[in-house]
């Protein structure tokens, strides 16, 4: 080992942070002008290893500050404060089609950040770094409580913020892959919303009888949330991604029971048989299955299944009847759903109906379908299994990594502000410097 560099000091501050908080990675005491690689390593729950790294040159004081200095190579380049997280990719030799998702959100994501001599691109496992630190990234803030919800046959988890409450509520829905996906709800609870993540495609009744849930399932979830002593029943919003958008728009417009104060729809569409059940909507998509396309790499492209946007009003949620603010988040390179075309049509419908003041559209060039919380590694494609098909397919989601990552950061920030404004009401919120 080069003795002169033996006391290179690496620090990451804060060493424990929430998933959407920034950190500062600092190298000190390096030889001025020396070339160094800063690398992040993470082993996820299913055993796969992910890495990200940047190539730097120490300045005249022997310092590198990742939030101020440019990376000149690696998995990211330029001045990228959080590049070591969002540019994570599976280590060489991993199987293809991986996507990083945390299942157990009560423990932190553990990342090891190390600094190596020279500009390295591979073989890190055989190198000894100068220095390494451990970093924890949490979905749950201290004091946030997780409560499983099973009444009425629900497969759900409620996350309550710390404090006496009462808190505005949030129903959180994901897409066609089913399962109970909790991490976004946990993170939103860390921002003051009583958030209930709901599995509506692989609930107990569906697993046992094969039948899809009906509208009552969602209304039960809404009622459970509304009646919780720490939830403000008159301030409940819904957030859906992908197929979750279909459910959210449906409930927002047609439900007699669910009265939303706001809705957030990410990467989805309003195209569906009007007020159809979950079963009916899925069958509608399947009917158009022959419109499936394939990329040169044989990845499945499903965005055409709902195109062209129909003119028949019985095939679209009547967004002109919407009575609450709606935030649409669109990745313009979405290869899975026609979210951009749908957003344009929604805008037109609302303009004609006179309620477009309720609509905000965030549209991101070169962002794909999976618009996740900040710094989530971008998956342009991954293996995917929907509840309707037997085998896994390689699904093309779309998006270019740098722009997709920026879109995630920007959309999240604006989404939290949108939810605060509509659920906490009154004054305009001020400082979100930690986002």
């Amino acid at each position: 080992m080069d003795r002169k560099q033996c006391c290179v000091k690496l620090s990451v501050q804060p060493s424990r942070g929430l998933m959407d908080e920034k950190f500062i990675v600092l190298v000190q005491n390096a030889l001025p002008g020396s070339q160094l690689t800063i690398r992040a390593l993470h082993q996820c729950e299913d055993g796969h290893s992910w890495e990200a790294f940047g190539h730097y040159t120490a300045d005249t004081t022997g310092t590198i500050n990742v939030s101020e200095d440019p990376s000149i190579g690696g998995t990211y380049s330029g001045v990228e404060q959080m590049g070591l997280l969002w540019s994570f990719r599976p280590i060489p030799g991993s199987k293809s089609g991986l996507r990083m998702r945390k299942k157990n959100i009560q423990t932190p994501m553990e990342v090891t950040i190390s600094v190596y001599q020279g500009h390295q691109t591979e073989g890190f496992a055989d190198l000894v770094p100068f220095s390494g630190v451990a970093v924890e990234r949490w979905y749950m803030a201290p004091g946030v409580r997780r409560i499983p919800v099973t009444e009425g046959g629900l497969n759900a988890a409620l996350f309550l913020p710390s404090g006496p409450g009462p808190f505005p509520g949030l129903l959180d829905l994901w897409g066609g892959g089913g399962q109970l996906v909790e991490y976004r709800a946990a993170l939103l609870a860390s921002h003051g919303f009583a958030s209930m993540a709901i599995d509506y495609l692989t609930a107990k009744i569906t697993m046992e009888t094969g039948k899809m849930v009906d509208n009552q399932y969602f209304e039960t979830a809404y009622r459970v949330l509304q009646q919780h002593p720490q939830v403000c029943g008159s301030k409940i919003a819904m957030i859906g991604l992908s197929f979750g958008t279909s459910i959210t728009l449906k409930m927002a417009v047609y439900s007699e029971v669910i009265k939303l104060s706001a809705a957030v729809c990410i990467s989805g569409s309003h195209v569906q048989p009007v007020d159809g059940s979950v079963e009916e909507i899925l069958r509608f998509f399947q009917k158009n299955g022959e419109k499936t396309r394939f990329s040169e790499k044989n990845e499945v492209i499903w965005r055409d299944l709902l195109l062209p946007i129909p003119t028949d009003p019985s095939l679209k949620v009547n967004v002109g009847r919407l009575q609450c603010p709606l935030l649409l988040v669109v990745g313009e390179d979405d290869q899975n759903w026609p979210s951009q075309e749908s957003a344009l049509d929604i805008k037109e419908m609302m303009a004609r109906a006179g309620n477009s003041h309720l609509l905000t559209v965030l549209s991101y060039p070169n962002a794909g379908h999976l618009i996740e919380p900040p710094y989530t590694p971008h998956a342009r494609s991954s293996t995917f299994k929907t509840v309707e098909i037997e085998e896994k397919v390689m699904c093309l989601w779309g998006g270019q990594t740098v722009e997709h990552s920026r879109a995630q950061e920007d959309a999240w920030k604006k989404m939290v502000v949108f939810l605060r404004e509509n659920l906490y009401g009154g004054r305009k919120p001020t400082s979100f410097s930690h986002l």
Binding site: Q28, N29, P142, P229, T430, S431
Partner: protein, 411 residues
Amino acid sequence: QKRWGNLQAVPPILSITPSRALVDEKFQVLVENLPPGCPVTLHSLHHSEDKDDWEAYGHYVSDHRGVVSVTEDLSFGGTYTGKEPMGLLWSMRPVPGSREGLRLRKINVCTPMLVNISVHSGHEDFRDRTPLASALAERWYMAPGVKRIDINKQGVQGTLFIPPGPGPFPTLLDMWGGGVGLLEYRSALLASRGYVSFSLDYLRSEHLSADVEFKYFEVCAIYILMNHPQVIPDRVGILGISLGSMVAFNLTAYSTIIKVNVVGKISFLFDAVILWIDSDETVSLSHFHKAHFDENNYMSWRSFALDLIADPSNNVEVGRINCPMLLVNGCDDQNWPTVETAEEVSDALRHGSQTRGTPDNQGSVTVCFSVILLWGGHTKAHSDAQEDSWRKILSFLQLHLYHSPSVKAKL
């Protein structure tokens, strides 16, 4: 009953950023969504390991946007006043009705200190109302990846903390004061800042009635430490506080074992020497019973210690110390006459370097104020001192143990 509190239908939002931090890191406490010009009280509460409740509070008034920022705004009263971003921690004191003589010190360093911060409406009698909002902060002594190892080897007992990473690391021998058993939190925090740190237990009950052998430290502690694979043997320092600094001083000045390794060795201590020992190199604890009690019935050893210092045969030959030294002392230290002794030490070092002309003697740096516990239940001046001195200590350590021109010259 669902209700929003005394104010309005919309609840305020209290946020702590970051919500998880090391104990020497700052946080920002922010309350939003209040009505403008609203009097509120920010209250912190900690339930200690000894099952006592500690609290601090500040009275604030929200601005025209309905915001209270503890970082930016002034507290009008409570346990702290003025602009005090960390006031909710350092001004903590036992809640009314607690038992006497409490001191806030964490024993289990593997778990965080939990502090609940809440906002209440009003100033007077704020406690009578339930909080409008609250949030929990975790304050950690151990950074992720720091390893804690119990050491019981060749009669040496203590706790070793090793930073994450490949190592090896510059190392510190951490000597606490008398009468409190083994305290690990400073070592845990130093390991979180990149130093292997060994909290040495040298005052176990079986030793209290006998003289503690110098040899114990010298042969066992230093030798074991210096041979540890994660330790860089020529980058070892000693920290001592109170009684510990006396031991540290003696080790540095008199130890022959240490002298062998002293080439390139750098050591330092804080809190000035509080007792000069005699030349047979044993520490005599029998002197300590000669304390006096002040009007509050608190014990002070200051006056008898001054007598001891006045007798030169009691003094450690400071000129023999051959490395950079940082002295941190409290100008109002009633426990030991640290200011007087620091001055003597400075004089002796200056004189020594003039007569011997050794370029290696880096002299001393004297910094006022003492360090006991970061942000834990003390007055404003003391806390400012703690923040300031801790920052300077970390800089001093980084300069001399991570990066020192004299070390580089010797390599």
